[in-house]
Symmetry: C2
Subunit: 441 residues, 2 copies
């Protein structure tokens, strides 16, 4: 039977797998995590609004009862497209085999690359070392622990406020940057009332930096203004038209010479594709490292290989110079399209070109404040926009259980806020939480 390998269980990979369910193909979905991550809500995990489990859904729970789809947990280490083989490291044989450098080769007839994107630090000094990205669940958990530990440090020691412990700098004015800065401002408001922290809220700063003159580039000016006014009213400082020049463990320096003392620089400044994907195929890549694909989503020069979602530079429509934005909707639609092309090839039908159907864009700015820009240009904002944002995310959140708990969480938080999951699970090296009894080694 025709073998399909799908690399990545994000929105694109899962959509492709689902579209191949019951077809005359044998599908292997591979990912280095055993769960799908609902990326649009990562910022809620990072700011202690949701639990990590609320945005993670086991891949096997999605595909487990589909006979022609299998899952393999492990890391892809290379692709030999000339031989139609994916090189794969997994857990099957434990440490010994891995130590010996042995790998499994997974053969394919068709390959769908859906490996997503990683943070792009643009070579800014110190960014890769000290900035905190927000693209994986691990990132979000780490950021949450980092934020909550800074609050614990500031507790009761007013003198420390001036060393930047309570300064939080967010780089990038896209949806992620807007969402995370709004949520941090709310996180800072809450502890004073609820958690008994003893520090001066007015000494805590949230600064959002972007090189452009306005937040949320793809939105209409009225939506941009709404976001800017709402964030300002919630005491987020906007540093527009500025770039980051340098990041150290203790401060961030902007290109206009401004220096902000901070131990927390959150990176929402752009994404690229991992070097492994681009170099493994050895084909030319587009802007930001994304793989070049033709109008049918086939990777140019690599027979049998498709690329979808964030890792591909997908033309908006045939012949267009514009490429699709890196959104869940693009990943889902392109995943389904690539799957359909594989099925078409098996039945001798010609391939069809991909055309992106814009469903609108949205971003949340905080509680009861979001903007949804619909396809027809209509902009919803404020509470109405928030309800639209809320509803759409619930619809797309994979799995009933997650929907229920997110729903409970959100409404409870909306009504009360007292018992959000402000839990520091992992730890930084200076706090021991790994071992032994509750309070001692």
């Amino acid at each position: 039977m025709h073998k399909v390998v799908i690399i990545g269980a994000g929105f694109g990979g899962l959509a492709a797998a689902r579209a191949l369910s019951g077809q005359e193909v044998e599908v292997t979905l591979v990912d280095q995590r055993n769960f799908h991550t609902f990326l649009p809500l990562l910022y809620e995990v990072a700011t202690a609004g949701l639990d990590p489990g609320d945005v993670a859904y086991p891949v096997r729970a999605v595909i487990g009862r589909t006979p022609n789809i299998g899952f393999r947990l492990g890391t892809v280490t290379g692709i030999v497209w000339q031989e139609r083989v994916v090189c794969f490291n997994d857990t099957k044989s434990g440490h010994d085999r891995l130590a010996a450098g042995c790998e499994d080769d997974v053969p394919y007839d068709s390959l769908i690359l859906a490996s997503g994107a990683i943070a792009n630090f643009f070579g800014i000094p110190g960014a890769a070392e000290y900035a905190l990205p927000l693209y994986t669940l691990q990132d979000a958990r780490h950021l949450r622990d980092h934020l909550l530990l800074r609050l614990e440090e500031a507790d009761g020691e007013l003198a420390h406020a001036s060393d930047g412990t309570l300064n939080f700098v967010v780089v990038g004015g896209g949806p992620t940057g807007v969402e995370v800065s709004g949520a941090i401002a709310e996180l800072l408001d809450m502890p004073m009332e609820r958690d008994g922290f003893r520090f001066d809220r007015s000494m805590a700063r949230v600064v959002l930096i972007d090189g452009l003159d306005h937040l949320l580039g793809p939105f209409k000016p009225s939506a941009q203004r709404y976001a800017e006014e709402t964030l300002s009213a919630r005491s987020v400082e906007l540093a527009m038209g500025k770039m980051v020049a340098r990041i150290t463990p203790a401060e961030v320096e902007l290109n206009d010479g401004t220096v902000i003392a901070t131990r927390t620089v959150i990176w929402a400044g752009g994404v690229t594709v991992s070097g492994t994907v681009a170099t493994a195929l050895g084909t030319p890549t587009a802007h930001n490292g994304r793989l070049l694909v033709d109008s049918t989503l086939a990777v140019s020069g690599c027979p049998g290989v498709f690329a979808i979602g964030d890792c591909a530079a997908i033309p908006v429509s045939t012949g267009s110079e514009l490429t699709c934005p890196q959104l869940a909707q693009v990943a889902i639609q392109s995943g389904r399209h690539a799957a359909a092309q594989i099925v078409a090839g098996l039945t001798g039908r010609p391939r069809a070109p991909f055309s992106y159907r814009d469903r609108g864009i949205m971003a949340t700015v905080g509680r009861r404040a979001a903007i949804a820009q619909l396809r027809n240009g209509l902009v919803l904002r404020g509470t109405v926009g928030w309800v639209a944002w809320f509803s759409l995310h619930l619809v797309y959140l994979v799995g009933f259980r997650n929907k229920m708990t997110v729903f409970v969480n959100w409404w409870w938080r909306y009504l009360n806020w007292t018992s959000g999951p402000r839990v520091i699970f992992s730890s930084e090296s200076d706090v021991e939480v790994e071992s032994g009894a509750p309070t001692r080694e």
Copy 2:
């Protein structure tokens, strides 16, 4: 004002803090985690029935609005009872200060030790190195990842079943051992139906080992028989009257010479008190390292120091040779009592002796199967016992939000089971999930 320091935010420490709320004392509650762990449900986290966040509740959310109680996150490194000072390492000054070995001294007038217990491996060779304890949330998360990774390894490779990948050995036939072996048996049933794993369920073994002739020592014989029959019916093998002689990464050896190939030995075989507590005070300790206390819960020979809960050897009543079991109820009752003694001392009233009020004991054996032995000797079992168990745990689970999500989780699982949180969050060294994009570095 009279300064009270409470070490540990478990059942005992929190109960003591709450009892001191609004009294004429200044309370500092310290813990190396910022959350309270609901220990009775740890086994559910370990077997992917609940999310870690469902059994963790932020300490500050409990005490945050109580003006006379403060929280400090950090590690107690010593106690100088002669000077009434607790030595404390926290995060306030970051790495530099810790590297220099500096510590904070926290002075107290009264000290409540509520630091709980740690696993006791009884010096069995290999146990401390290779057995997996289940006493902290970290333990539970690690065990969950470990169990789910073994299933991934076994997937599709039938030959591996004989190397012990699918053999799970549980040491200790108390409530924890019974609960975790029942839950693992259910975890093994489920993936075959739901998750598309390809291995032979009948080759997977769950073995429960105990040195006594019956499970659940403190229960009546009828309850013990019910647990044994139920576990057997759910294909848990009982190895009663046997002891573990040796544990290696690949097998466990019993004292009768039996060798079981396994990579998973779960340790529910007993607890002790951490060396730091016992040696810090320098006073004689009781059976299992527990601190000796008089009938008022005061630590003999250390003025101003009380010990409660799992870390204390508490007489059941004045003059009794029997000590209280290590149960949440004992911790809660003794925490309240110690707080009351401190308040009594301030107002010149005499101290009162502690007397444990037995509220009954319970253990769950799996879905719709639990035993509850009430104070009057009545034993509930089966579905009735399960509902009693379920209700009581919900009542005691701290915080409304956790109750709601646990409730949703349980009923959903009970009705359907499809979407339990079978997510591998952290990783063992042979799977990379820490970095970068969904599928690649």
